[in-house]
């Protein structure tokens, strides 16, 4: 297929210039999102998921952050070179983003209805009455009970799940082509999470919007994503079809992570854990950054330079010298 991807990120690297030195938070990340597709980024805290998303959205804190390499394309247009003003028009209109903490993303002193209406007035030049009606309509679309009556309520008067719906309403108001969701359900109860995920999926079906979904929850990946990337220490260590990666991982980190997740259906005597802890980005690890915690590591793994993200089989890339072995080892 040669259709232009909705989003293409090519060889992205982001540095943080801190007092203690330069931290490379994201290193050589490439991926694509097609219209209507959900791509998940899975990884533990500090692995670079949010920084990747913020770079795409153009909202990195810079300084200290700086994109030191790479390019970002939306429908083939390079975003990286765009002047600030045009960039602002793209984000918020063509790309929307929702966060884990809806409360801090919403204006506490403006009613939720007015905040949504503001989007329509600012970007679509709607009049006051028209914007109000459009806001109520989108509030109904995200299933806020009693939307009309709750138009004038403030963010703190809503529960966490309802606030997340309001943020989604604000973001889909302008019908973005891409929605970036950074841990959108991490702070919510499972029952509410299920509803928010179902809502996102429904909006996607209706609008063919692309979804970049950041999560540390394997179950969420399995239920939502067609494709997934696994990040570790700022790098993509594996990527491919979500179902295939979950069924048969090729990278030892993915495999270990899958084993460490407690199961709902089966009780084990001892949970297989991953020894050690994630690397400190101020002290880069020579060779493969996972080698100190890796159970298949050999001498080559600790030597410069680390392995590349290579094709292991069709539609699957992994950054490991032993990816073939890991892949076939899990086949039993």
């Amino acid at each position: 297929m040669t259709a232009t991807p909705l989003l293409a990120v090519h060889d992205l690297a982001v540095d943080f210039h801190t007092r203690d030195g330069v931290v490379r938070a994201v290193d050589g990340v490439s991926f694509q999102v097609n219209p209507g597709e959900t791509v998940a980024i899975l990884g533990e805290s500090g692995s670079g998921k949010s920084v990747t998303a913020q770079a795409v959205m153009g909202i990195l804190d810079s300084p200290p952050a700086r994109i030191s390499r790479g390019q970002i394309f939306l429908e083939g247009r390079a975003l990286s070179g765009l002047p600030e003003k045009q960039l602002r028009a793209v984000r918020g209109v063509e790309i929307g983003m929702i966060f884990q903490d809806a409360l801090s993303a919403l204006n506490p002193v403006l009613s939720v209805g007015e905040q949504i209406a503001e989007m329509y007035r600012g970007h679509l030049n709607m009049g006051r009455e028209q914007a109000r009606n459009a806001a109520i309509e989108v509030m109904q679309r995200v299933q806020i009970p009693g939307a009309r009556q709750r138009y004038s309520d403030y963010p703190h008067q809503f529960s966490g799940g309802m606030r997340q719906r309001i943020m989604i309403a604000m973001m889909i108001a302008l019908q973005p082509k891409l929605l970036i969701a950074d841990e959108p359900t991490t702070a919510l109860d499972v029952t509410v999470q299920a509803q928010i995920l179902a809502l996102l999926a429904q909006i996607q079906t209706e609008t063919n919007m692309g979804l970049l979904l950041i999560t540390h929850d394997l179950g969420v990946v399995a239920e939502m994503a067609q494709r997934m990337l696994v990040m570790y220490a700022g790098e993509v260590v594996e990527q491919g079809s979500a179902r295939a990666v979950l069924d048969q991982p090729a990278h030892p980190y993915t495999a270990a992570l899958l084993r460490a997740v407690p199961s709902m259906t089966e009780r084990v005597d001892r949970l297989p854990s991953i020894p050690g802890r994630p690397p400190n980005p101020l002290e880069p690890i020579p060779g493969c950054s996972f080698h100190p915690r890796c159970e298949v590591a050999q001498r080559c793994c600790s030597q410069h330079p680390g392995p590349d993200l290579d094709l292991v089989k069709s539609d699957r890339q992994a950054r490991c010298w032993f990816a073939q072995e890991v892949l076939s080892g899990g086949e039993s």
Binding site: Q195, L271, S273
Partner: protein, 341 residues
């Protein structure tokens, strides 16, 4: 039934109300929030009892009541046969060393200006008699650190120098200092990454055996609970709505709320196309249910009876209790409902 001396902790019809106030300058009490409502439970020696439920269901409040940090509005708590409310403050202090608390957030629950030696050794300041015979405080702390998998050479370091998982180990070491019989753990692994979560769960399982501990394990994560709990109590709006052996609850959940909770957990073995009917009812915030079953606004089985009469917790056999007029494993999903007009 368990033998009396097998029961280490008992809650009998415990309730706690927080005053509900209005006004900032002249606070006026306008009512009360019943955070815990008539909860009875027993913890047996060596077992792990999990409290599960959504946020706001009263799990943390119940945990604080069990440990004596809060006094119930009504009902009583007994630790090893003694009613906490009837003890003098000296007796209460002695009792408290038998029951210790581990909290969720290792970042905020440790004093940043204290070294590990001071943090882990602090309980010995009040309870000198609990120092192991012939050991100095430093030696005792070093031993505790080794027990929880921390390098004793780091005894003079500060909490910020440790990762989240290591900080949780610090919290566990401190909780173990006075050699308690009971540990109340309030979401002890919820803030940790999966790979670290498994390490801490394994540590807690090991300590349970080596130190003969009984746990009350508070969690909203039903997969974690599956790995550690012997018995489970499911809480909804301050009440226990289902309780029983863990295996029975996972194999045949009886309360519609438990069924919804279990069905909502995203599973790696499922994708969107195979998803069973998700609960689609969007419930308005704060459904107040003065009478009847507090779950009825979210329940697909609710009838007029559920609105009129509150179901009591009753045994369905083999210690599996449920508070529902229409218990059963059959239907998880609530009916599709249009949002309120």
């Amino acid at each position: 039934m368990a033998k009396v001396n097998d029961v280490v902790l008992v809650a009998d019809a415990v309730s706690l109300e927080y005053p509900l106030t209005r006004g900032i300058i002249r606070r006026k009490q306008i009512g009360a929030v019943r955070a815990v409502a008539g909860v009875s439970l027993q913890l047996r020696r060596g077992e792990t009892l999990a409290l599960v439920g959504e946020s706001g269901s009263g799990k943390s409040t119940l945990a604080r009541l069990l440990i004596g940090l809060q006094t119930p509005t009504s009902g009583s708590i007994e630790v090893a046969g003694d009613n906490l409310a009837q003890l003098s403050s000296g007796q209460l202090r002695a009792k408290r060393r038998n029951i210790q608390l581990i909290l969720q957030d290792p970042y905020t629950s440790l004093n940043p200006r204290m070294t590990l030696k001071a943090i882990i050794g602090e309980p010995f300041q009040i309870h000198r008699d609990r120092l192991p015979l012939g050991k100095s405080r430093t030696e005792a702390v070093a031993e505790l650190m080794a027990t929880v998998g921390l390098n004793p050479e780091l005894i003079n370091r500060y909490p910020h120098e440790f990762s989240g998982g290591q900080r949780q180990r610090i919290g566990i070491a401190r909780a173990l200092a006075l050699r308690p019989n009971i540990i109340i753990a309030d979401e002890p692994v919820s803030a940790l990454d999966v790979s670290i979560q498994a390490q801490i769960i394994n540590l807690m399982l090991d300590l349970r055996d080596s130190h003969q501990l009984s746990y009350v394990f508070v969690s909203h994560d039903l997969a974690v609970v599956r790995q550690i709990a012997d018995r489970i109590a499911v809480m909804y709006q301050g009440r226990i709505v289902e309780a029983g052996p863990a295996a029975a609850i996972y194999a045949s959940p009886q309360h519609p709320y438990t069924l919804q909770l279990l069905a909502a957990v995203p599973s790696r073995d499922r994708d969107r196309s195979q998803q069973p009917g998700q609960p689609q009812t969007v419930v308005p915030d704060d459904p107040s249910s003065p009478e009847g079953c507090s779950f009825r606004s979210r329940c697909g089985k609710a009838t007029d009876l559920c609105g009129a009469v509150r179901p009591e917790l009753s045994d369905t056999g083999a210690g599996h209790e449920v508070a529902c007029h229409f218990p059963g494993s059959d239907s998880a999903a609530a009916p599709d409902q249009d949002p309120a007009p």
